[in-house]
């Protein structure tokens, strides 16, 4: 299961795990702004220190983050290389050939981009590792509530998201089952040329879609039988509570922001 996106939650009981998911979502978002505000080595150093501190507080081993970044490393290196080779002129020119320009400005920028990537990926990994998908969904729905005023069906969207998450394992089991049945009928999944592989998908996808539709129909009948009319006129069993520790995180954030602003001027 560990290789799947939704299985990536790591159930520990740290202070980071216990934070309000709304707060974690907001913090992650503002953190990204912070990352783009930073513009010199010192400010990035401060951000790295804060990020490591957050990881420490989550009690999640660092190597898990390293493992999480590994699949993305080529994307990062590609972007860094682009920045390095094609940046506009500025500062000392180290290397020049037709349209390729390696300048002092380019090297520094490439370094910054590399760090930005690492920081943002690490922090979003921390978010998913420390927060259950369901809580992320509930948190998102709660944060989107103001959109009600512009007639966005926030509660319905939240219900859809929650049901989708609930059925991910069910449909994964189903897919496994159908794959087994078709393998027993002589289908080779993931073998042969591209066309052969695409053809092998049909006996998997058709039954899977049909099953999903049947389930959806059953589910809608069951929901109606249990009194579900619309998403607006319902009370909430699962609610989120803002604790003191959530407020404390913002004090820490404010400290970080202040330090970075000072560094920018410096």
């Amino acid at each position: 299961m560990s290789k799947f996106l939704f299985g990536r939650y790591l159930p520990l009981n740290s202070i980071v795990h216990r934070l309000d998911p709304r707060n974690k979502l907001l913090l992650s978002f503002c953190y990204i702004i912070l990352v783009f505000l930073a513009n010199n080595w010192l400010s990035y150093l401060i951000l790295i220190a804060f990020t490591l501190g957050a990881i420490r507080a989550s009690t999640i081993p660092l190597r898990i983050f390293v493992r999480g970044i590994r699949p993305l490393i080529w994307l990062i290196l590609f972007t860094v290389a682009l920045q390095l080779l094609f940046s506009p002129t500025g500062g000392h020119v180290y290397f020049h050939w037709t349209f390729i320009n390696v300048t002092q400005y380019g090297v520094v920028n490439a370094g910054y981009i590399f760090i930005r990537f690492l920081l943002i990926i690490t922090m979003s990994t921390l978010l998913t590792l420390s927060t259950q998908p369901l809580d992320i969904a509930t948190g998102l729905a709660s944060l989107m509530k103001p959109l009600r005023w512009v007639r966005v069906p926030v509660d319905t969207l939240a219900m859809m998201l929650s049901i989708a998450l609930r059925f991910v394992p069910t449909l994964m089991d189903e897919a496994q089952k159908i794959m087994n049945a078709q393998r027993a009928r002589g289908v080779d999944f993931g073998e042969g040329g591209l066309i052969k592989q695409a053809k092998a998908l049909l006996p998997l996808m058709v039954p899977l879609f049909i099953s999903a539709f049947n389930r959806a129909e059953d589910l809608s009948i069951a929901m109606e039988a249990r009194g579900y009319q619309d998403s607006e006129h319902r009370s909430q069993y699962r609610i989120l509570t803002w604790q003191r520790r959530d407020t404390v995180t913002w004090l820490i954030f404010a400290l970080g922001l202040a330090l970075i602003l000072i560094c920018r001027r410096w």
Binding site: A184, G186, V206, P207
Partner: protein, 291 residues
Amino acid sequence: MAITFEHVGYTYQANTPLATPALTDVSFTVPDHGYLAIIGHTGSGKSTLIQQLNALLKPTTGQLTVDQFTVTPTTTNADLKPLRRHVGMVFQFPESQLFAETIRQDIAFGPQNFGLDPDKALKLADEMLALVGLDASYAQRSPFELSGGQMRRVAIAGVLAMHPKVLVLDEPTAGLDPQGRQEMMSLFERLHREQGLTIVLVTHQMEDVAQYAEQVAVMQHGTLLRVGTPQEIFSDVAWLRTADLDLPRAAQFAQKLAQRGVNWPQGLPLTADDLAAQLAAQWSTKGVDHV
């Protein structure tokens, strides 16, 4: 011997921190043309066990042979296709594997994958349709227009079309009504008797075990507790209770009569017929007129 398991063990996600053993040291044999029932609670390893039979899962320790095929932990996928054809698998709710536009095409799918040319495969499909008790008018219809029970027959026809020598059935009657269950079980019985198919049946229905199986394997927590004839397994009532398994109805009833002092000299009867026969024998030995 049609099927031989030698110290088969299987661990899910072996060599990872998430490793979970599902089978431990399972050994048994099923003779040619045998009929084995596998019983045990949900999660006892029955499904893992049957998936070894056509190497959807390969043993992590030990080995097994199915007729001329041997599967070991190092068997490669390339060697498995003939085995997959040899062992037909009917999974739980097999109707969920249907996908083709017509019933005929769906039944012909397996044989075509194993290299039969399309014309022959379609002809074979028509034969199989008749075998599972659906008339020729169904051939060109979409499988998705059928009732649940009919869809299941089509799925089974699709497995039989590969002409397997071993037929593995994972709770084949689940969700059917009693009439559908009866018809389905007699179909398998007929295949076993007339075509000599070796049958491996996973079931919770002790009545079916008593009526059809020649051998019973009892699974618990991934180990094989016992294997024997239905008579041997169901006669040890005290042991069955410790394994938390039910007796067939007739045996439960006979057991109650035994507590009142009735003897079963030919062994605990397992079916209503068996019970009636033994009762009739006692009736006549006592030389009394029948009521």
